[in-house]
Point group: C2
Chain length 428, copies 2
């Protein structure tokens, strides 16, 4: 009976696994050097958790299930609600700021397409307890630190930044009501993601008044922070929102990554819980979907029953990133890598196989990666197997072993030497 894999999921054969590990190891290393600590939560949570504040799009894409106890659960489509829950649970004992990262496996029942799968990995980096654009800058820097370290440059990527707080003030000045904001955000978020006609239809659906709609479209074509003052009247809530953005850009400059960052009023984000600065990272030319995105979500902990504590962070998935890295030739070493061991133990005849097994076991106990051939066969064949495993060294066991001698072959230079077994192990 042949059973296929589930649509939209991936099988990670060793070749794909090497690429996944390369990406995730890079994320972890960047997080740690930026002063973040790793956390994780369960693969599923109570369904309700994702119905509260994530927004309709996520709620529609849930893989939900009912357990034997009748509990309604869902496989996590994102980890931020879990983060909010975990921080709330220990809010009094966690020293702040909380600088945490995670690399959760997430599932969303989307239509599988290029860069979007039903199961993926997402790098999450968050700072909780800091109400200062410096924290937003630090998370953006952390993302860029990874992207640059992996080999991307300012020719490849751009961080597009805006602010929900600012946008809320601008929309309010146009006459959009507070209660409409969430649905307007959801539509504006689609501006660069759907055809113009579809976008205008969607906008019509949530803003009936055509004059207001035209004004919204006008605002969305603004190219710089400075232009805002020319289209809407400044007030004491709009000005601080603009100041936050200015401070953010200034700090990104101090951090040396200013050239990667630009203002883009079209960045709104799909999730409902963002409250301030928001951003998305794109390949330059924006041929692909967003590599990742994030922003400030100052109300989320309170929504989940905790105190009002400011928070900001981002998520970067592995699917679009992998497409971009492959396109830029930055995965070649991983794709072609193959198995890589320190030492292959070959045996000149079947009678020496047991000794080869013993030596292999001894090497492994010394923390040296080692392997041998099950089939054996002539030495040439075994040396070929050693090469295919990229062995750095080969030990050959033949009749010399009767005098306690091993033949050690350097697989790079081809050089061979004979050495006493006990001396060889003592030298390791």
């Amino acid at each position: 009976m042949k059973i296929p894999p589930v649509k939209g999921t991936r099988d990670f054969y060793p070749e794909q696994m090497r690429i996944r590990n390369f990406i995730i190891d890079g994320w972890k290393a960047a997080s740690l050097r930026n002063g973040f600590e790793e956390y994780d939560g369960p693969i599923f949570e109570h369904l309700q958790m994702y119905q509260v504040k994530s927004g309709d799009e996520i709620a529609e894409q849930l893989f939900s299930l009912t357990d034997r106890g009748g509990r309604e659960l869902a496989i996590r489509p994102e980890i931020t609600p879990t983060l909010a829950r975990m921080v709330n649970q220990k809010i009094n004992s966690l020293p702040r700021p909380i600088k945490w990262f995670s690399v959760p496996r997430l599932c969303r029942a989307e239509r599988p397409q290029k860069g979007r799968l039903r199961e993926f990995f997402q790098w999450n980096v968050d700072i909780i307890g800091v109400d200062d654009p410096l924290a937003d800058a630090e998370t953006i820097f952390c993302a860029l630190d990874y992207l640059l370290q992996v080999g991307l440059t300012a020719n490849d990527i751009v961080v597009k930044i805006s602010s929900r707080k600012m946008l809320a003030q601008v929309l309010e000045a146009i006459g959009i009501e507070q209660k409409q904001l969430e649905s307007v955000y959801a539509v504006l978020d689609k501006r660069n993601k759907v055809p113009d006609e579809t976008f205008e239809q969607m906008l019509k659906g949530c803003i009936g008044d055509s004059a207001k709609r035209a004004q919204v479209l006008g605002v969305m074509s603004i190219k710089s922070l400075e232009e805002i003052a020319s289209v809407v009247k400044m007030n004491d809530r709009l000005a601080p929102a603009i100041d936050d953005l200015k401070k953010l850009f200034e700090t990104l400059g101090v951090m040396g990554v200013g050239e990667f960052c630009e203002f883009d009023i079209g960045i709104v984000r799909g999730l409902a819980y963002y409250t301030g600065i928001v951003y998305e990272i794109y390949d330059k030319g924006a041929e692909l979907r967003a590599i990742g995105g994030g922003g400030r979500y100052d109300d989320l902990l309170k929504t989940f029953g905790g105190p009002a504590i400011p928070a900001t962070g981002f998520g970067i998935g592995d699917c679009v990133l992998e497409i971009l890295l492959a396109k830029k030739g930055l995965l070649e070493k991983q794709s072609s890598g193959g198995k890589r061991i320190d030492c292959f133990v070959a045996y000149a005849a079947e009678q020496f196989k047991s000794k080869a097994v013993e030596i292999t076991a001894g090497l492994r106990r010394k923390k040296i990666s080692a392997d041998f051939s099950y089939k054996g066969g002539n030495l040439g064949k075994q040396l070929k197997e050693a090469s295919s495993q990229n062995a750095a060294m080969c030990i050959i066991i033949g009749s010399e072993i009767e005098n306690g001698d091993l033949v050690v072959k350097d697989m790079v230079t081809g050089e061979q030497r004979t050495v006493k077994e006990d001396e060889f192990f003592a030298s390791l």
Copy 2:
């Protein structure tokens, strides 16, 4: 609104995450040095996959769900069926033997108790394509290589080994029919796991004849391989099964781990798909559940629509293992570890904060883990924060920076020196 975590799951705060990473990193390192390559599959598969051959116990513990397309899925309770599916899919292009490992997250709807959770991680190591006890020995060695490297000794752990093939012949000799075997295995597997009375009741349920039952109980009290010949007649299927076990023990001796391994006819394993050698790893004294177990499953690939290819492997979960490691004091470093960075950047006054941010960013770009204080405050406070992050070094930015100088403090010796900023960065 406060939403609790789901029963039987774990939240991994940084402290718990350090322990999880310590365990999993050890598994990965041991696998690699034993010549295994990493793979992984999706978190869910078609439900059917676990109803075929895993046995009733697993099938009853599934977290199953129906997706929007009406597909019946289940979160994976084990990864072996996925392994069989993946190998079958590429059977003609994969060089053999296939030596693969994985560290899947698994879910089982069990009653949560000590060492058993509804969500856990399991180290899986398998060799596919080798019909020789040498392969079983190599997987057992790999498990022991990890357990010893992490600090356990022959005083702490034991591998109990038997053979389903042997047991089948012995049971057949007693008069148990082939078609009863699977249910008898399931009961025998419980012998050391439930009270004697419960066990006898269960046995009554599947073997009606009391004389046969007494014989089965007699066989189950055998203490050595040699005794088998004294209770049942040798035949040409029983003899090879015993020979396989003898060869296994001999090879484990050659590998230098004989002292950890013993014959135990009570080892049967719960999963339905085992066909030959089976084993379980216990803490000595067996105060805890099995740390892990495995064996040969030569028919599984065929069951999943592939060719008949021999296979053997084990799984070790993280829950019981963590309890044992904690009990033996082998997790103290991880529990008390805390955050650990290379360099903390302090600033003597608010006016130097921006410079501190710049220096921190510069260090991170040089792959040095670095952090600074959001709050600032007096230097003493910041140095305390540096200590709490286990910083190896501290850079102090004060008025010296006006001459381009940094103060660098070694946090171990307490020694301080002044160095030009550009020279400092050039030296990294």
